[in-house]
Structures are given as structure tokens and as C-alpha cells.
């Protein structure tokens, strides 16, 4: 083989290599990496991602993840995706820090990296999508109660432990916006310690201490289920509405019995949809991240980033008798 043929071959190969990504760009490949496969919550998120892909037209969603929730498993998945030269990776991380080197390598190869649901440290991603924010949750839990009390009424909060950071922040945020809900009177805050029996007892105590109680707000998944059971057992279904944050699979019975009219939690379908939209915007439409940046995400409006390049998707999604059947099998 002459030197010229050799040079030509290498040139052709190089050209082919350069052309390959251009061809792939015809179909944008976005990888949705989840904590582990086979979890209802993430299957639902994948459904949302497919919806976004259909809306965008030229997008192929690669739904993938390890078989168990380990950072090692996710690193392998990320390395495989780098080798496949995907356009973007949207990941719900099993570890904040362990994935950073692998994701940095992906970004050096020109792959867009964002995290959603469970975040990665800032240096390992371009931005992070939170399902909601503390002020939105604080507002939602009181709104859920107020929506069914047009003339106002007495509500009580059943929290987890006195030291639960999340619950304390949400209750604090709720207190800040109480002024927007005239007539809603928070009569007590009690703590069920995230134990079914103590939460049940506290809820029973609330109904005894405040015979005119109209609603119990429980921003904790153990508390809301226990309070609903206590309301059923006290024969106060219809008088006391139990609401707050819970999972559809766990709350289906309470909605069925009428003890809870509605409750909220993030919608995994919306989450997967928004993550895909954001990944597309960053990788294809040249959207920039940074404090104050606004990135559109289709039907979910747009996301505003803060100084840590994080943004909150939306209000928690409200579940009631009309949609519980669809979601109780999902998560």
C-alpha cells in the first residue's frame, strides 16, 4: 500500500468520523437515566419523556439505568452512553458526588448533562430540575385544605418529627402565605414522628380537642395515611378532610373512603416530560444556563434557574377521585 493510499484512507476515515455525529443529529438522542429500572415512578417519568419526544418530533429517548440503585451501576450506564455519543443525558442520581467525574467526561465530549429529581453536584451537570420548591409546597398544602373550605374553617397540621427539616420548612412556608387564605385558621401543629400508631393517636387527639376541626394537613406520607384511617374510625368522614403530601398507591384507600378529598405530590410524568424538554433546549436550541436564565419546557411553561443553576418545575400535582385510579398503579 502506497503512502498516498494510506493517507487517503485515513482522511476518509477521519471524514467518516466527523460526519457520523452530523448524521446522528438528524435524530436527537436524549438518554433518560434513572436510579434503577423497574420502579413505577421512573417508568412514569419515561412515559412523560416519550410524550415530549413525540411533541418535538426528531427526538429518540433512550430510557436506561442500572438494575439496582447504585452509583457504580449508573457510572457504567453513563460510560456506555458516552460511547454511543448521545446528544444529552438527563439523570436522576443515586449519589450526588460519585457520578461527577463520569458526567464531566460526558460534558467534555459535548454531551448536554442535566439532573432531575435527585441532583448531582453543580460541577457534574449544567442544570438541575427540582420537581417543586419549598414555597410552592408550603402554599399547596394549605391551598388543598382551603379549596374545600370556601367559608373558611379550622385546620390542624400533623407533621413528622419536631426535627424533620423538610416538614418544618414547608410548615414555615405555609405560615407565610396563610394571609392569602382568609378564614383559614391553623389551630394546632402536632407531631406523629412518622409512626403510624403515634400519628393515628395524634389525629384522634386533634379531633377530640377541636370538635369543629375541618381539615388535617399532613405533609408526610406516613402521617396522611394514619390520619385518614383515624378519621374513618372516628366516623368523621365528610366532616374532617385529610390532605397534604402522599403517594397515590398509599392514598387510594383514603380517597375511596372519602376521608381525603385530595392530596398532592409531584407528577412523575410531568417530571420526565420537562427533563426531556430541557435537555433538548440546551443541546439543540443553544439555551444558556446561569442565574435568572429562563428555559422553555413545552406545556409545563418555562423554568427559571437560581444561582446554583437549579429550578423548580411546578406546583405539586393534585390527586383526587378523578385521577387516582390511573396513578395508584404507577407509584
Amino acid at each position: 500500500m502506497s503512502i498516498i493510499t494510506k493517507a487517503l484512507t485515513s482522511a476518509a476515515m477521519a471524514a467518516a468520523l466527523f460526519v457520523a455525529p452530523a448524521q446522528a443529529a438528524d435524530n436527537v438522542r436524549i438518554a433518560l437515566v434513572v436510579k434503577a429500572l423497574g420502579i413505577g415512578f421512573f417508568e412514569a417519568a419515561a412515559k412523560g419523556a416519550e410524550e415530549a419526544a413525540e411533541e418535538l418530533g426528531n427526538v429518540e429517548v433512550i430510557y436506561t439505568g442500572p438494575t439496582d440503585t447504585t452509583a457504580e451501576g449508573q457510572i457504567e450506564v453513563i460510560n456506555a452512553l458516552i460511547a454511543q455519543r448521545v446528544d444529552a443525558i438527563a439523570i436522576s442520581a443515586n449519589d450526588t458526588d460519585a457520578l461527577v467525574p463520569a458526567l464531566k467526561r460526558a460534558m467534555q465530549r459535548g454531551i448536554t448533562v442535566i439532573s432531575w429529581d435527585s441532583g448531582v453536584a453543580p460541577e457534574g451537570r449544567q442544570m438541575h430540575l427540582n420537581p417543586s420548591s419549598n414555597p410552592l409546597i408550603g402554599n399547596m398544602i394549605v391551598k388543598l385544605a382551603a379549596d374545600h373550605l370556601p367559608d373558611g374553617g379550622d385546620v390542624a397540621v400533623l407533621s413528622a418529627t419536631t426535627t424533620s427539616t423538610n416538614q418544618n420548612i414547608w410548615i414555615e412556608e405555609m405560615t407565610k402565605v396563610l394571609g392569602d387564605y382568609p378564614g383559614i385558621n391553623v389551630v394546632a401543629t402536632v407531631y406523629g414522628d412518622d409512626l403510624a400508631d403515634k400519628s393515628y393517636r395524634e389525629a384522634t387527639g386533634l379531633m377530640q380537642s377541636y370538635p369543629d376541626l375541618d381539615a388535617i394537613i399532613a405533609p408526610t406520607s406516613v402521617g396522611i395515611v394514619a390520619a385518614a384511617q383515624a378519621v374513618v374510625d372516628a366516623g368523621k368522614v365528610g366532616k374532617v378532610n385529610v390532605t397534604g403530601l402522599g403517594l397515590p398507591s398509599e392514598m387510594a384507600g383514603a380517597i375511596e373512603s372519602g376521608a381525603s378529598k385530595s392530596f398532592a405530590i409531584w407528577n412523575p410524568i410531568d417530571l420526565g416530560y420537562s427533563a426531556t424538554m430541557l435537555a433538548y433546549e440546551l443541546s439543540q436550541n443553544g439555551a444558556e444556563t446561569g442565574e435568572g436564565a429562563e428555559i422553555p419546557m413545552g406545556r409545563m411553561g418555562s423554568l427559571t434557574l437560581d444561582e446554583k443553576n437549579e429550578g423548580a418545575m411546578a406546583d405539586p400535582f393534585v390527586y383526587d377521585a378523578s385521577n387516582i385510579e390511573d396513578f395508584k398503579e404507577i407509584f
Partner: protein
């Protein structure tokens, strides 16, 4: 000695009444008969478990795995109910009792045959049982809408004015009162705790008696497992987390000596009721939740200190003359 035991129960009974009177001054509705029935119903699981723990403690052992046993049995029967909704409740109850007894037997065998200290054995099995719940359930919950109405309805069913859950406690109390006072087993449990060496000379197998005590405690934990899961209509890994300490506390308040050999059915029941009243009263008397824990703890300490003083054997001075030698 026999005259002394009723006195201790009398004092404890008096303490419960004083407590009720105090609560009534802040929340009169608490002492309404309806509510007292509710408090008893809420305390029923604690009473049943305290009686099981009582026989274990009396044989100089301790069973820290009761709450984990309860949770594992509860999860097992809840999953069984989801898989086979038509299984009749008596079958479910029998399975729960047998499963609980089997787990108690594991504790008992380790203590009896391998002579491992009971606190170590049950601390180990406590963790193992919780781990097994995670394995069989995959960390998922069994929720109220998945359980059959008969399954969740049974402990709530009213019989002669009280729910079945309360009757289960009443029945357990009666069986234990008879067993402890009138059967060879009950007397040998007392004998083994009181003086193991003497018990051996009277022909009692100490290890075997301790084994039986663990089986009894396990069987009751299994029974409570079903009742608990059905009552709160939810089963998950952490149900009744830390409840074993409440059970031990009820026994200690009830005057059952941790050193073994001393105690009575009435004491264990009153100890459980005392704790039950405190737990049910705290939410309604409007005390800051930050104080509630401290108050619960102090009540236990005061009761135990009181018991320890009352139970201290009067020493006999046998060499009095030696003191007065010049």
C-alpha cells in the same frame, strides 16, 4: 411476699386514677366512658405484648425482638391477604400466631441451646426480622385499599360493646392470670427467675422454661402483628419502630423485676395502661410537643424509682451486737 404484690398494684392503680383526674381537669371529655374504652382499645396491643414480655423477663431474659416480630408477622399476613383475599380471618390469625411463635422459638433455641445472653440474641434477631421484612416486601407498603375489608374490619368489629381488639387483650389477661397462678408452667416460670439453682433441684429445666417463655412472647407478638396491621390498615418496614422499649417500660413500671422472679399479671397490665393513658392524654391536654417526650420519660422514671424503693428488700441486720462493741 404474696401480701406485698397486691399493694404494689394498688399504688399503681391509684397513680392511674390520679393521672386520669389530673387530665380531667384540663380535658373533661377524656374520662367519658366512651373515651376510656377507646384508650383501652388503643392500649390493647401494648397490654398483650407486655404480658408476653413479662414471662420472658420473669425468667431472667429479655425479648427486644417483639416489635420486629410484630412488624414481620404483620407484613407477612398483609401480603398473604393481598395474594389470597378469600382466606378466612381465623386462618390468618392462626398463621400470625404460629409465625410469631416460630420466631420466638428461634430466640428461645439460641438462648437455651447455645447459651447466648438473651439481650444479644434478641438484639440480633430484631435487626434480622426487620431486614427480612425489607426482603419479602421489597421496601414497598401494603396499603389499605389492597387489604380485604374482612381483614381490616376484624379488630374493629364490635362485640358486647367493645371492639375485638379490646377483647383480645381481655382474653389474654384472663389466660395469663390462670396460667401464672394455677398451672405448673406459670409456677415454673416464677421459680426459674426467682432462683434458677433451686429450680433445677426441684426438677425444672431452666433452659426449656426460658424457651417456652420466648415462644409465648413470640406468639403474642405475632397475634399483635395481625391486629396492628389491620387496625392501622398499613404495613411497611418500620411499623412499631421502637415499640419494644415501650413494652419493656410497661413491664418495669408494672413492677416486674428486670432481675427476674418478681412480677404479676396485674402489674404488667396496669403498667401498660399507665403508659397508654399518658400516650393518649398528651395529644389532648395541649402540651407543647417539645415537652411531651420529656413528660413521658419522667413518668417512666418516677414510676420505676418508686417501684425500686418499694421493692427494696428490708435487709436483716444479723450482727447488730458487733456495732456496739466498744
Amino acid at each position: 411476699m404474696m401480701r406485698f404484690l397486691p399493694l404494689r398494684e394498688l399504688i399503681l392503680g391509684g397513680a392511674v386514677l390520679i393521672l386520669l383526674a389530673l387530665i380531667a381537669t384540663r380535658f373533661p371529655g377524656f374520662v367519658a366512658p366512651d373515651n376510656l374504652a377507646n384508650v383501652f382499645n388503643d392500649t390493647a396491643p401494648l397490654i398483650i405484648l407486655a404480658l408476653g414480655q413479662m414471662v420472658v423477663i420473669m425468667t431472667r431474659c429479655i425479648d427486644l425482638s417483639v416489635a420486629a416480630n410484630l412488624a414481620l408477622t404483620g407484613m407477612a399476613v398483609a401480603m398473604l391477604n393481598v395474594a389470597m383475599p378469600d382466606l378466612p380471618i381465623p386462618v390468618i390469625v392462626s398463621i400470625a400466631v404460629l409465625l410469631g411463635a416460630f420466631m420466638g422459638a428461634i430466640n428461645g433455641l439460641l438462648v437455651w441451646k447455645l447459651a447466648i445472653p438473651p439481650i444479644v440474641v434478641t438484639l440480633g434477631t430484631m435487626t434480622i426480622f426487620r431486614g427480612v421484612i425489607f426482603l419479602i416486601s421489597d421496601g414497598k407498603w401494603v396499603n389499605s385499599h389492597e387489604m380485604s375489608p374482612a381483614f381490616t374490619g376484624f379488630p374493629r368489629a364490635q362485640m358486647l360493646g367493645l371492639p375485638v381488639l379490646s377483647w383480645a387483650a381481655v382474653l389474654t389477661i384472663i389466660v395469663f392470670a390462670v396460667m401464672m397462678a394455677r398451672t405448673p408452667l406459670g409456677r415454673s416460670i416464677l421459680a426459674v427467675g426467682g432462683n434458677p439453682h433451686a429450680a433445677v433441684y426441684t426438677g425444672i429445666n431452666v433452659g426449656r422454661t426460658q424457651f417456652v417463655a420466648f415462644v409465648i412472647s413470640g406468639a403474642l407478638a405475632g397475634l399483635t402483628g395481625y391486629l396492628w396491621v389491620a387496625r392501622y390498615a398499613v404495613a411497611y418496614v418500620d411499623i412499631a419502630g421502637g415499640f419494644e422499649l415501650e413494652v419493656v417500660a410497661a413491664c418495669v413500671i408494672g413492677g416486674i423485676s428486670i432481675a427476674g422472679g418478681i412480677g404479676s399479671v396485674g402489674g404488667a397490665v396496669l403498667g401498660a395502661i399507665f403508659l397508654g393513658v399518658v400516650k393518649n392524654a398528651l395529644p389532648v391536654v395541649n402540651i407543647s410537643p417539645f415537652w411531651q417526650l420529656a413528660i413521658s420519660g419522667s413518668a417512666i422514671l418516677i414510676a420505676v424509682a418508686f417501684n425500686a424503693r418499694a421493692g427494696r428488700a428490708k435487709g436483716r441486720i444479723i450482727l447488730k451486737s458487733a456495732d456496739v462493741t466498744p
